[in-house]
Subunit: 227 residues, 4 copies
């Protein structure tokens, strides 16, 4: 696996395909308004920080990145609400989906005791043995679903219908492209504490990849997160 | 069920919440360029047809509609690729999902013999008995999945994880809002022959509702479809 | 002039054409996530305030408004940077532009002494007599431009070229439509202190009109502005 | 002037700043749906042509380009209606505008005799001498406007007001970024016969620059134009 690929969850990954622009380009774009260019970071580090702090975000639209992502369907369902990104995804209408499903760890399940309402169950949390049993049966259920899916495909059930039992825990794959302004907005929402842990892991991987191409901008994002 | 609700598939529906604008408003907007208003349909029927035929679509952005929709997740997955619509959907992070799942009819499964590659299985189509058996077992699988989901919720597994086995055939609910230009684009893609039959049923219901509020525009759409 | 029209600057106005949705609809949309509806304002005033304060803005996309606006071209130039609005404008390619031009008052010119860099001249401010003379000559210059424009049109110079000398202070007219989320974003940027005074006047008129249709949401906006 | 800069009109230009993606990337994105990659142009030239001909445009969102453009304000006014592009423009609120204005040639003015209604004057076209006189006086008017603008600036009139007489024929400068799908849409509308000749010249320059980075896609565009 190349340096540009970050593993996420049990079977997922984020792979950088390409970036465009750079921190300097953002300054050049901002300086269009006053007809000047990049002046060097001694001067322009302050300007970049000013733009970011005061949400003058249009110059950040002059850079961007394309990623390839493998993630469970429920993660993609949240992801696709970001309507400013461009997507091309594996289609179960055209191709049988690979058999990879997300199985959380026992520790992850027990994070339900956190303060987030979304992260809590509707009842008091059961003991470790019971929870582990639930996870084991989830694994078996995943297998039963896959068997039924394969049966349907073998019988000639149209792929677009054979997929009906596929769970939202099943992995899919896509490319996603956005400009840096929109990636920052994605990071802002999806690295927040009230975001679901799974998409937060993907957002962190995206932030890591972006920090190589746009170190100064991502530094501002990270500092802003701490404040 | 009111006149504004159209049943779709086995458990779904499309319900009109609200429209804004009307056919006349589209003309008024188009006439901004020449500083004139609506002149009456004797004159302006031709203008509306001209705008539509020549894809001068910005005046159609001055009208729109909001719907509430109940549809299977795999239908919403296709729907949400329309990034110009606004969505608010039931969230399985916050609320246990109702137990309604899409079960196609045997006839629907056999439409696999059509010319669409997407509508075909990967193998020759099995006999009716076998296909019916596959459907019966799909129903049972849906029940097993629901039982495991309820077990998880009862054990205090966080709702956001208990949902992992939920199938893409499970119904969800949302509101969707768009201007008329974007609804027409949705109808154009989703009533096409190569669209999956299930989302076509929803698109037809949307077209029916829109035809009450925008009869002249939807007439142009329907005529364009035939041509 | 109807109640729905607000005069702005010397020759401009903002006229409400239509709104859709209402404060309750925003709550209904937000409640889609938990499968509940509107509960009454005793309960839901807090929810609306929470959504607004925490920037959960998608429910505000379920309402909106269409306006007709007459404003100078330099105001429209700023306005059109809001790429989420829909526009239909008078076109000087198709129709000779009416002869209305923005002439600021002497007081307005002297606001140059404010703290905004954009509001300052490049030199120290001249005396009232000199400034008034500059304004008087601006008026005469507007007339010379109009005369040359009319000469061109009379000679058969294509309208699309005859317009070349038209100044950015010339009034134009458009319809603009957006959902409430995007109008709030417009108000946020264009009622800010560093926005140019002229577009601020238009933003204030928009806010006034919106406050009739969406009193609770606009109250939150106004309170947020003060904080 | 570098190879990446194309002169347009009397004082304008289009300069390529950066592209991202390439023809192959478009194929890779399209192949996400079937989980395959680029197969070589012997096979994939047909796929690219199919995507383009059938308006499957999302894969073309995975590539794009940034340009710097100098053009008259009336051209930018049309350009900015393309709401899917990102813009950063010289601001007359912050910086005095350079004194460059568009003066069409006599031949250009006489193209009014074409079939386009927009390209026609409201009267029969005058003789060459009269038209040349109109152009000479336009040049003089441009100078009077510039003199008044400079007077205002020298008196300390705020830059944001001193600009009021600036004509729409005055040159401005901006950066514009968009993905390839949106550049193709721009080219489609702005190289059309009913587009104003001036913006057509800019669109042609954009097409030329894009054809170096995306030769196969732009070839499809050019062939589609002829058909």
């Amino acid at each position: 696996m190349s340096n540009d690929t970050v593993k996420v969850l049990d079977h997922g990954c984020v792979k950088l395909i390409e970036t465009w622009g750079c921190d300097e380009r953002i300054i050049e774009a901002a300086r269009m308004s006053t007809n000047k260019g990049f002046q060097g970071w001694e001067t322009d580090a302050r300007l970049l920080a000013y733009l970011y702090a005061n949400r003058h975000m249009t110059p950040f639209e002059m850079a961007g990145a394309v990623f390839e992502i493998e993630a469970p369907i429920f993660v993609f369902r949240e992801w696709h609400r970001h309507r400013t990104q461009s997507y091309n995804e594996l289609s179960a209408r055209y191709t049988p989906l690979p058999d990879a499903n997300y199985l959380p760890t026992l520790d992850r399940v027990k994070q339900s005791s956190g303060s987030n309402k979304q992260a809590q169950g509707v009842s008091a949390l059961a003991g470790d043995d019971q929870l582990q049993l639930w996870l084991d049966r989830l694994q078996i259920l995943y297998s039963s679903i896959e068997a039924h899916y394969q049966d349907g495909l073998a019988m000639g059930v149209p792929k677009e219908l054979a997929r009906l039992p596929i769970p939202v825990g099943r992995y899919s794959r896509m490319r996603a492209s956005a400009n840096l302004r929109n990636w920052l907005q994605f990071l802002d929402l999806r690295t927040a504490e009230n975001a679901q842990l799974e998409i937060r892991e993907y957002a962190k991987a995206i932030a890591t990849e972006l920090s190589h191409a746009f170190p100064r901008t991502l530094h501002l994002f990270t500092e802003g997160r701490k404040a």
